[in-house]
């Protein structure tokens, strides 16, 4: 790195602070918006991706996994007849109302699964046990939502759709994209909570036999059940992500926020780098006069941009991590995986170099004869 690039940048400390503030603001905005977007992607379909299900059989017209409608539970027997199916169990996912001890109500998503197979049940229990769900009125919630649901200890009772529910365990990492937390219970309890008939389910979830080919079984199921729709786990996850993240506009909004951050960053950094270049125009003229090539001038300006990006990124990534940590207690999950954090550095460099384009043009077009003006 050239001494001139470093020293010119550090010489005017006020301008450096303004430049870095612009970069930090832009990068934090981009990181948070991208993190929100990734959080949306993660939470919108985590119930599907962590289910361990191979195929989902649903009533027709399903918009997303949280929007299923009732279908006869006996369909699972037809499903079991299809070659390649190892297990077929009823599964419920639907919205309900959770009554807090204070009397206030919170929307929840009741997840009813078959306790024997465990398909679609909680992936990670941190307190209590799945077997406890065999007891009457027992439910498991995620530890993240204890405060929201007013649960202070295991064994505490509440009401779901005016029916008693007793908390017997906590899961971890089962965050919901909607503001409604997941509440796990046995299939039988879920029928009651969701006011389904005894012979109704929302889904029939399928586990394939070893060696069975997913697509082939799916085709066979569709042929056997013309009144149902069949999705692979991947299709169901994507259908759900696509609905919540894109159709509702939530994902687009966050991506637009990230793009806006990038734009703000480019404008702020471009303005400060341009102002710095204008201030140093005579110096660039001197450099040209004493023999510097345009390439050398590019180098000085680009190095300043990269240095600004590095300094700005170093602070921004720390601020972004603090925001991510602070958001852990909130409803919206913000994810900043190492790959994205590293990619953000590339974006910072790209942003600062783009921002310096006008300055490069200005500096390289300078008439070196400027040096002879007193």
């Amino acid at each position: 790195m050239t001494v001139l690039a470093v020293k010119n940048l550090l010489h005017d400390k006020v301008r450096l602070v303004v430049t870095l503030t612009g970069i930090i603001f832009a990068l934090v905005l981009i990181a948070v918006q991208l993190g929100l977007f990734l959080g949306f992607l993660e939470t919108s379909s985590n119930i599907v991706e962590r289910s361990g299900v191979d195929l989902w059989v649903t009533a027709p017209g399903l918009p997303h996994v949280n929007g299923g409608s009732a279908q006869p539970e006996r369909r699972r027997y037809k499903v079991l007849e299809v070659p390649g199916v190892a297990k077929a169990e009823p599964y419920v996912l639907g919205f309900g109302n959770w009554k807090l001890p204070s009397g206030a109500k919170e929307s929840v998503q009741v997840v009813g699964y078959d306790l024997e197979s465990g398909m679609g049940g909680p992936a990670e229990l941190v307190a209590g046990s799945g077997d406890a769900l065999r007891e009457d009125d027992s439910v498991i919630i995620d530890e993240h939502y204890r405060k929201k649901l007013g649960v202070t200890a295991l064994g505490q009772t509440a009401e779901i759709n005016d029916m008693r529910a007793r908390v017997v365990g906590y899961t971890r990492g089962m965050l919901s994209f909607t503001t409604a937390p997941y509440v796990f219970t046995s299939f039988k309890h879920s029928q009651r909570y969701m006011k389904l008939d005894r012979d109704q389910t929302i889904f029939v979830v399928v586990k394939l036999a070893a060696g069975a080919e997913t697509r082939a079984v799916k085709r066979a199921l569709k042929a056997a059940l013309p009144d149902s729709e069949v999705f692979t786990n991947q299709e169901m996850a994507w259908k759900t992500k696509s609905y919540w993240v894109f159709s509702t506009g939530a994902g687009i909004t966050t991506l637009m926020g990230a793009a806006l951050g990038l734009l703000v960053g480019i404008v702020v950094v471009a303005q400060t780098i341009y102002a710095a270049t204008m201030d140093h125009l005579r110096e660039f003229g001197t450099l040209k006069a004493i023999g510097a090539t345009n390439r050398y001038l590019y180098r000085v300006i680009v190095e300043q941009a990269v240095l600004s990006a590095t300094l700005g990124y170093s602070v921004a990534v720390v601020v972004a991590m603090l925001v991510v940590n602070a958001a852990r207690n909130g409803d919206a999950l913000i994810l900043l995986p190492p790959r994205v954090a590293a990619g953000l550095f590339g974006l910072a460099v790209l942003m600062c170099i783009s921002a310096s384009a006008i300055s490069i043009r200005k500096a390289t077009r300078i008439d070196p004869a400027i040096v002879f003006r007193a």
């Binding site: 001494v3 020293k7 004493i290």
Partner: protein, 231 residues
């Protein structure tokens, strides 16, 4: 003496059509190694334009300029930095030092442009600064120096690539008489003791005492009777 710059029928005009201004017209001039040549004339006479063309900073509109035997008129813009770097050292009226750099770095940068490794450039810069009497100022910032000291830093920078030709634009204009005298003694010594060609554009009559030749320019022309041997 070797001719380092040979100028023939030089033309320079700005603008076009009715708005065209002819800054230089039919200029013929030779600059020899080992001489101090003073270019004098009123403001707007074309002396700085002539200096800029000599130093390949400005392109001529016509005629011929040879630097150490190489024709530079008509060269591509991208070829000129190399010519400037190889043949010329520049000294400016306003010193044009880099305020963010130390005195040493101000000189070393001219060497780094020539591809000299940083450590060697710094060592050479220290030697050049010692030559102009600034050995004790190498780590200072230009803002800490007097005008005369700044101009001596500029001279050290101009000498960084060991160029054969030094072009100076009003080098004493911003200096008091003592500093101006020191600067002129250094420039004179560069020509007379070290064989450099030193071309100085000046209004300052103090420079005349150090010049081997004085070329007077008026309205973009060198008048033959104005070219005189300095006393």
């Amino acid at each position: 003496m070797k001719t380092v710059i040979e100028i023939r029928s030089l033309e320079k005009s700005y603008g076009s059509g009715a708005a065209q201004v002819r800054a230089l017209e039919g200029v013929n001039l030779d600059v020899q190694a080992g001489e101090v040549l003073a270019l004098m004339g009123p403001s707007g006479s074309g002396k700085t334009t002539l200096l800029s063309i000599m130093g390949c900073i400005l392109q001529a509109s016509g005629g011929s300029v040879k630097v150490n035997g190489r024709e530079v008129v008509g060269l591509r813009e991208s070829e000129l930095p190399r010519i400037r770097l190889t043949h010329f050292g520049f000294i400016f009226q306003s010193f044009n030092l880099f305020p963010a750099l130390t005195v040493r770095e101000n000189v070393a940068i001219a060497l780094e442009l020539r591809g000299t490794p940083r450590r060697k450039a710094r060592r050479t810069a220290d030697r050049l600064l010692a030559d102009v009497g600034l050995a004790d100022k190498v780590t200072r910032q230009p803002a800490d120096l007097s005008g005369g000291q700044k101009q001596r830093v500029a001279i050290a920078r101009a000498l960084a690539g060991d160029p054969q030709i030094i072009l100076a634009d009003e080098p004493t204009a911003a200096l008091d008489s003592a500093s101006g005298k020191t600067v002129m003694e250094i420039l004179s010594s560069l020509a007379h003791d070290r064989g450099r060609a030193v071309v100085i554009v000046t209004h300052d009559p103090r420079v005349l005492g150090y010049a081997d030749r004085v070329v007077r320019i008026a309205d973009g022309r060198i008048s033959a009777e104005a070219e005189e041997q300095a006393a």
